[in-house]
């Protein structure tokens, strides 16, 4: 759906912010652009909606170069969320959320329904916030409104520039979870800039890791963590990359390849099968016994899990190319 073809960006004649980047994003994919600051990830994002011009190469949307689109019309078909939300202080929450539908001249009934739907989606009461102003909301609420505003005209593509970067960790985690929930419902093609590898692993279908304007590795989170193709990748994701990769799998995933001992009588600690392996390991390490009991959604015991089995599973995964 979005094709980056040898994209380069040069500022003021000599500063190369992006160097010859090529990769494809399929429809409905959630792609994270990540890298240290100054790696060109934001420039790359801003070239998609033409806030920055492309110096060399091309970005192709559904077979058509972004350069051939009318900038204004194209931007209205892309949701855009930035770190500091960028809400308009002079407009009410309703006007802020409905800015693009207003520009597109939607009729009143359609706009009202859309507003109700969006506010329900982000979990804020439509009537309560309708006539409020941005400065009367907390940072987390403002950022939710920013997301709703970007989704307002139901654009197929969402561009998000560190949308949760300015929030405190607790609110950030909550908004990430909420946004994943929203994405399951709306199924957008998302390009998401982040500098936080945990966020990238948690949110992305694919991760594009950049350094000094170059694309170092474009792969699934599991491959980035377990099969780094470059020294910089393993450095960037950190020495705990195996631990991080464990949050990609649940106990249920493990059950597919490893059979548990079904004798559960002697174990006390319990985890659900939807628990991530990372959390399961944490529980295992905190108990005195060597094993924990795994139960399914209806609390029926499935079997006992040991550290050895987790290790076995991870080695299995590390052995598979393209997990």
């Amino acid at each position: 759906m979005i094709k980056f073809q040898n994209v380069s960006k040069t500022y003021n004649g000599n500063v190369k912010a992006v160097k010859d980047v090529s990769f494809n994003i399929e429809a409905g994919e959630f792609v994270i652009l990540i890298g240290p600051s100054g790696c060109g990830k934001t420039s790359l994002l801003r070239m998609v909606n033409q806030l920055e011009t492309i110096t060399e190469g091309d970005i192709v949307l559904n077979g058509k170069s972004v350069r051939d689109f009318n900038k204004i019309e194209m931007r209205r078909k892309m949701g855009y969320v930035i770190q500091s939300n960028g809400l308009f202080p002079n407009m009410t929450i309703e006007d802020n959320v409905m800015i693009v539908p207003n520009l597109l001249g939607w009729d009143k009934v359609k706009k009202r329904q859309r507003y109700q739907y969006l506010m329900d989606l982000i979990g804020l009461n439509p009537d309560e916030y309708k006539k409020r102003y941005p400065h009367q909301l907390s940072g987390g609420q403002q950022q939710r409104i920013g997301v709703a505003r970007a989704l307002a005209a139901d654009p197929p593509i969402m561009l998000m520039d560190e949308p949760f970067g300015a929030l405190d960790p607790i609110i950030r985690t909550r908004l990430q979870d909420e946004f994943l929930q929203i994405q399951r419902e709306v199924q957008k093609t998302i390009l998401f800039v982040s500098h936080d590898i945990d966020e990238a692993v948690k949110m992305g279908d694919k991760i594009a890791l950049m350094r000094h304007g170059e694309l170092i590795q474009y792969d699934t989170p599991a491959n980035i963590l377990l099969h780094p193709r470059h020294e910089f990748v393993s450095e960037f994701v950190g020495e705990d990359r195996v631990l991080k990769s464990m949050s990609l799998y649940t106990v249920k995933d493990l059950l597919e390849s490893i059979t548990l001992d079904t004798n559960v009588s002697s174990t006390q600690q319990t985890v659900h099968e939807q628990t991530t392996l990372r959390n399961a390991l944490s529980v295992l390490l905190s108990t005195n016994s060597q094993k924990i009991k795994v139960v399914d959604i209806e609390e029926r015991p499935i079997g006992t899990l040991t550290i050895d089995q987790i290790e076995q599973f991870l080695q299995l995964k590390a052995g598979q190319k393209g997990a």
Binding site: I72, Y80, F88, P89, N90, Q136, G146
Partner: protein, 250 residues
């Protein structure tokens, strides 16, 4: 905090007592006598004064705001420094000298007074328009652009509403100063309440002086209140509330 409030309150009370004493003194000595003895002459001077302020003020508003908007466009930003400095220079020249210069070119009369006061009213509005538009958050502009607003829509829906508070402050300052400076119009034959004030000064006649000065002061206060009222109507509620919450937090 409460100590400051007490001081502010005391000062306010003293101020009003001073005003009441002042007016008692005026009425006891019949110092506003000309206002009610020559009502038609008074109304004539007052009208002249208002016309001078109104015309010079509105032309200044109609020039300074568009000029401020143009100078904040990316294309013209490099000229901002030059123009603001030129207007600044105009403001540095004493108002009397400006009037004298203009009289030299346009001769005596109300027209010269209007031109002089127009030049004098430009700077506060221009400066506040520019400052107001510059104060709009870059990130907000970026979001507006990224969502597909045209430059004109960004100006109307984002920049001007957010700058309106500052622009109005400029208009208020400019008009209030204008009301006072318009008294100098008398010196170049422009009429207005300055006629009685300067007559009073020249004849050491308090009655003439105050018959001009008191209505002039009241006019300035009225203009100030009127601007505040307009500001309440025009500045978007969200901006007003945001400003208030900032002030309250400090």
């Amino acid at each position: 905090m409460s100590k400051n409030k007490t001081i502010a309150f005391t000062v306010k009370i003293l101020f009003w007592i001073a005003i009441i004493v002042f007016f008692i003194w005026i009425f006891k000595n019949d110092l506003l006598i000309h206002v009610y003895q020559e009502p038609s002459r008074f109304l004539n001077l007052l009208t002249q004064h208002i016309i001078i302020v109104l015309i010079s003020g509105s032309i200044a508003i109609l020039t300074a705001i568009p000029l401020g908007i143009i100078l904040t466009r990316t294309k013209f930003r490099k000229w901002e420094w030059l123009l603001v400095n030129i207007v600044n220079l105009g403001q540095t020249i004493p108002s009397l000298a400006v009037l004298a210069l203009i009289m030299g070119i346009l001769g005596i009369g109300m027209k010269s007074a209007i031109v002089g006061l127009f030049l004098f009213s430009l700077l506060p509005i221009l400066q506040n328009t520019i400052a107001g538009i510059h104060s709009v958050d870059e990130k907000t502009l970026d979001a507006a652009k990224g969502m597909g607003l045209t430059p004109l829509q960004i100006l109307w829906k984002v920049e001007l509403p957010q700058a309106s508070y500052s622009i109005f402050a400029g208009i208020r300052t400019s008009l209030v100063i204008n009301v006072g400076t318009a008294a100098l119009a008398y010196l170049i034959g422009g009429g207005g309440l300055g006629v009685w004030i300067f007559t009073g000064i020249q004849l050491f006649d308090n009655a003439f002086l105050l018959s001009g000065a008191v209505p002039l002061t009241i006019l300035a206060l009225l203009v100030d209140y009127l601007c505040k009222g307009l500001e309440f109507l025009i500045v978007p509620k969200g901006i007003r509330l945001a400003k208030q919450s900032v002030t309250n937090n400090n």
